[in-house]
Amino acid sequence: MSEPVPPTSEDDEADGAAEESTETGTGPTPVTTGASSVIRALENAGVEAAFGVQGGAIMPIYDALYDSDIRHVTMAHEQGAAHAADAFGVVRNEPGVCLATSGPGATNLVTGIADANMDSDGVLALTGQVPSGMVGSDAFQETDTIGVTTPITKHNYFADDSDSVGDTVGEAFALAREGRPGPTLVDLPKDVTLGETDREPGPAKTPKTTTPKTVPDDDAVAAAARAVEDAERPLLLLGGGVIKADAAEEARAFARNHGIPVVTTMPGIGSFPEDDDLCLSWAGMHGTGYANMAVTHTDVLIAVGTRFDDRLTGGIDSFAPEAEVVHIDIDPAEISKNIHADYPVIGDAGTALDALSSEVAADPDTEEWREQCLTWKEEYPMDYATPEDEPLKPQFVVECLDEATSDRAVVTSGVGQHQMWAAQYWTFTEPRTWVSSHGLGTMGYGLPSAIGARLAAEDDQEVVCVDGDGSFLMTIQELSVAVREELDITVAVLNNEYIGMVRQWQDAFFEGRHMAAEYNWCPEFDKLAEAFGARGWRVDDYDEVADAVEEALAYDGPSVVDFHIDPRENVYPMVASGGANGKFALTEDQL
């Protein structure tokens, strides 16, 4: 996407200016152009890294980056840039930044922006645009980026002034983070970024029309507290919002202080330690049997930071059918959108949980209910068979990886069966260690997000991408970036030579007609990894797993282990689409 437009005299001037100031090192370079004020705004916002791909209309921004301490990572494809920025933001809990040029650069970002939008991930996207005077003329590499991205951004901005463009970028960054996070975009026409200005951007301000309500109403909290006190079978449902609000501690204190069992959503994984007796892991289509039993039988569901996605609820008619719902969320529009909230509490998750916790005067008597939850854990264990006459089971691989890494290891994934096995069989205990594409379900998310996560994580945190063969192939070119940047990541491909989740559905619902689901034409990923300059292993048997995992994790650089797993293995439990959570299938014949 990097076809540059022919240089103009303005371009030449900008290039010359950049060359003079290469040795500035510490002191900030003065703002001279719209582009340099954009970079200053990013620096002011504390941005440390940005991911992107060069191209004609974004060249002034890149030229200004030349003088900045912001670490720029050139990605192989703009989609990778958006996912890397997204994952960086998830791990750091602040917006990640991605850059792309106009036209195809911007449209390649779209999947990543849509992904961030669905998962409420803060991302700031900066896109180049043809010069203002040419907008609307179908110029070379022109796309109506604002029009294309309006439905998938929290807000987007068309910059029209070199003096104020820095402030606009600051506002976009602040808005991406404020309240319920989400992606924002600033479209930057080339004349605006090249245009001269010496105006320093002010401190980043959020728009005055968007101020969220963070402190919940006392009355709402009191009403919810009465419901909790009277509950016989209360259940805390923790969504991704708990992690975004940095409220894992408050959630843990609430559950433990009042003896309330916990389930999470998939994005909520890590908000509560899964090895805690109170925790039933995650609920929904492929959630644990015990989590789905608890959700089905609770009488007071305290839901925090969740939008009640259909993959969580299954059929609305049978979702927590006897529960009064307390819904804590910072976004009023999520209240009663899918599931009616009997007790809406609008506010910041941590503030609201603390307030609710103090307001609950008498703990509900939950001993019997907790016993029941433990019984369900025994009745529906996640134990899987490992018959010797069948190929390697993916669950085993995930458990080995989990065991070989620390509690703070960051796990990223693509989308499909491997994602579900990773989420089911990795025991997560810390927030911001599970990085995945939940709402949009974007195959190919795993590798670029591992790159973003690697840059965001601490050095002592391992970064493992559990991928599938289909997902890996979609963004495999980003391996070149991991090699160039010498990033210590481990990709574990659960390779079943199928687009496995589709194959599972074809077996269950389409009479086993495997149309376009067989992927046995995939390359040998271990050899391909070596060709990229990474290290590669291939594993076919149980007795090779531990060594390969150990060697791959020990290798200080990108490593790929191609685990050839049982192609017939399916993901269970499974709630059929639109079905009742309590009727999850444990085997195919139960669907």
Partner: protein, 230 residues
């Protein structure tokens, strides 16, 4: 979760080769409660389904490029059932008022208001009470064969003739939706050639604020009166 490091055979007896163990779905307890399609728990004693009703929603917005497309895009992608949408400037520079007539059940109306409020250019949103002041304007072009009769019907509906030519007459009518509908029916006898309706626009009655937080009468200098009469 199994924590075995190596494949076992003994412990696998009860576990299916592909799948998990546990009571069959038919053997599990299932609650009898239900929710309706709006996610509301159904109380058998109460009618739980909400039926669509017509609501007028007013929003004060920052008048920036693309605000109308943001609003209309929101309405279409969330499949809200909208009857009309009007927008125009207010007495405050940079502020516009947007009036939307929607037909939705109560939860849908609630969602429209909340989703509108989330748009960055939207300053405030509210549904107008039933006693609101509202009106709509329609232009009707009819066959010019019977000018006297057309003028008579126009007078009857307190309308105004904007153009009268040898073949067509164009009249303007204002009023609430019912009055406009009736008038359109009455003009059918002459043969309606073309019709253009603005959709309803509305303000709260008396000194009530039209949108929450708005203070009537303090919103700056009045704009120059529109002079379309001249």
């Amino acid at each position: 979760m199994s924590s075995d490091d190596s494949p076992s055979t003994d412990a696998d007896e009860e576990i299916p080769k592909h799948g998990l163990q546990g009571p069959h779905p038919d053997e599990r307890p299932h609650p009898t409660g239900r929710r309706n399609s709006q996610g509301i728990r159904i109380d058998p004693a109460v009618e739980a389904e909400h039926h669509p009703r017509r609501a007028v929603i007013s929003a004060l917005v920052e008048d920036e490029p693309g605000v109308l497309s943001r609003v209309s895009g929101l309405v279409s992608r969330r499949q809200f059932n909208i009857e009309s949408l009007t927008v125009g400037p207010t007495t405050v520079d940079g502020h516009s008022r947007l009036t939307m007539v929607v037909e939705e059940p109560d939860p849908g109306i609630d969602q429209i208001e909340k989703q509108l409020a989330k748009l960055k250019p939207v300053i405030a949103v509210g549904e107008l009470d039933d006693d609101m002041v509202r009106t709509e304007l329609v232009l009707l072009k009819v066959e010019g064969d019977e000018p006297d009769k057309v003028h008579a019907v126009t007078d009857m509906y307190e309308g105004k003739t904007l153009d009268a030519g040898p073949r067509t007459i164009t009249v303007q009518l204002t009023g609430d939706e019912q009055k406009i509908d009736d008038a359109v029916d009455a003009f059918r006898q002459f043969g309606i050639i073309e019709i253009a309706r603005t959709g309803q626009t509305a303000l709260a009655r008396g000194d009530q604020a039209t949108v929450p937080g708005e203070e009537p009468g303090t919103s700056g200098e009045p704009t120059t009166p529109a002079n379309y009469d001249d």
